[in-house]
Amino acid sequence: MPQTRRGLVSWLLGGGVTASIAAFLYPVLRFMAPPPIAEASVNEVTAGKVKEFKVNAGRIVKFGSTPALLVRLGDDEWRSYSGVCTHLNCTVQYQESSRQIWCACHNGFYDLNGKVVSGPPPRPLEEFTVRVRGDEVVLSRRG
């Protein structure tokens, strides 16, 4: 603790300014933190009508708030994965010529089981279950 009057005044002044700064910074920091937004978790979506999808072609469809890749390999053969590359969050696409899933951002390749073939992605893509109900294609999360 300060021993002189001047020391005490300086200490009070410095303490007051520091306390003020802390009092201003707290609400500012709280303000900057984005508030949590409740998003309904989606487990199943309808991707579209069967006739809209060509054989040996892929399309990005909405799965809640994230993209999903739906690939039609044959008349009754479908595959679907999360469309988000496990490397750095880019959206992947189906490459018809190589019949592989490709991420254009860093040249990552996945096979049609979602496993990494080459490039930097560290994990396989999450696979979704595809069912055809009537004339509609339905994707659902596994497990």
Partner: protein, 364 residues
């Protein structure tokens, strides 16, 4: 360097590169006149402090605000209801804007009554009046941003007044609105003015203003100069640092206390979302600093002789503004003597007009 001995190495390192000594020596020479009206000197600093608060809270609001007709109102609603302390930050931004303009007006009138505009400070006066004009521009453009009913119709009225300006009116109104009507394009445009154009202009002009204040020092009123001459001794003054600076700091704390109290006790309302196809509700009025011209225009009949009333009103405001802006140039007659009565009379008359018509505009 002997003066650096005993300081932590990082402080020495910084001092060597940032020339603290030179800055300290410069500040040590700065003095502020000391007399019975010294308190009025604080208002320039208070205006600057509130401008700083505007910049800080404005940047914070930018983190969430969305400048489009479809999202602006909802984003402000999100800020005040969902973001932590969002209501406080927005309220401080709105209240601080109003207090800043009030402080700027007090500063301006104190400059007039203390005769601080006199030679060689004409440019300081002009840059100051320019800054007040920019502050009013900030107020006008910021008012629309929440996209609520009151701000929407106030902007319609305000931009319609611009349309009445002779020759360039319609082009000016179209430029301000970003089209023929107030709509989403106006909002985007006002947002651009509010967060980019006006801040850039203000920063430049503020630098000029502060440079001139620094160059010519702080003016003493003529009566104090006479008293000092009569007494023959050195003019009473205090060092800027720390004496005046710490007093100014206390004034900032007081301003902050008033601001915090207003923001917490009277949070700024958001109102209803603007609907361009709804009728204007009763009680539409601009911010208080535009109330006097707003009420004046209400009183002028639609036609006076062969002229439109609105045009005459604008002409009157234009002449009044020109008269006021050029004050340092007519404050002395040709022989060089000061027209003290005319300046004081003009200042008092202007305050009386602004106070009366603002009050009438608010209550009637």
């Amino acid at each position: 360097m002997a003066s650096l001995r005993g300081k932590p190495p990082i402080v020495e390192w910084l001092e060597e590169r940032l020339a603290f000594d030179a800055i300290q020596a410069f500040i040590a020479h700065k003095k502020v006149p000391k007399h019975s009206a010294t308190m009025w000197y604080y208002f320039g600093g208070i205006t600057l402090f509130l401008f700083g608060i505007q910049v800080a809270t404005g940047i914070l609001l930018l983190l969430y605000y969305r400048p489009s007709a479809g999202e602006a109102y909802e984003s402000v609603q999100f800020i005040v209801t969902r973001v932590e302390f969002g209501w406080l930050i927005r309220s401080i931004h709105s209240w601080s804007a109003n207090l800043m303009i009030l402080a700027a007006f007090i500063h301006m009138f104190s400059v007039v009554f203390l005769r601080a505009y006199r030679r060689p400070r004409e440019l300081t006066w002009l840059s100051g009046v320019g800054l007040l004009g920019l502050a009013l521009g900030f107020g006008f453009s910021g008012y629309l941003l929440p996209w609520n009913t009151i701000s929407y119709f106030a902007t319609k009225v305000g931009t319609d007044m611009a349309a009445a300006v002779p020759l360039i009116g319609p082009t000016l109104a179209r430029f301000l609105r970003g089209g023929n009507e107030v709509g989403g394009a106006t909002l985007t445009r006002f947002f651009g003015f509010h967060v980019a154009v006006l801040p850039a202009l203000t920063t430049g002009l503020l630098m000029v203003h502060l440079f001139l204040v620094q160059r010519f020092g702080i003016s003493s009123p003529p009566r104090v100069e006479e008293q000092n001459r009569a007494s023959g001794g050195p003019a009473p003054e205090m060092p800027f640092f720390p004496n005046f600076f710490l007093r100014e700091l206390m004034a900032w704390y007081a301003a902050l206390a008033v601001l915090g109290m207003l923001a917490a006790i009277f949070p700024w309302e958001l109102g209803e979302k603007a609907d361009p196809f709804a009728s204007a509700p009763a009680g539409i009025r601009p911010e208080w600093y535009f109330l006097a011209p707003f009420y004046t225009l209400k009183l002028i009949p639609s036609h006076v002789w062969m002229f439109e009333g609105e045009l005459l009103g604008l002409l009157g405001f234009g002449l009044l503004a020109a008269w006021w802006v050029t004050l340092p140039f007519w404050a002395n007659d040709r022989s060089g003597s000061e027209r003290t009565r005319l300046v004081t009379g003009t200042g008092v008359a202007l305050i009386a007009y602004l106070a009366t018509f603002s009050a009438l505009g608010y209550w009637k």
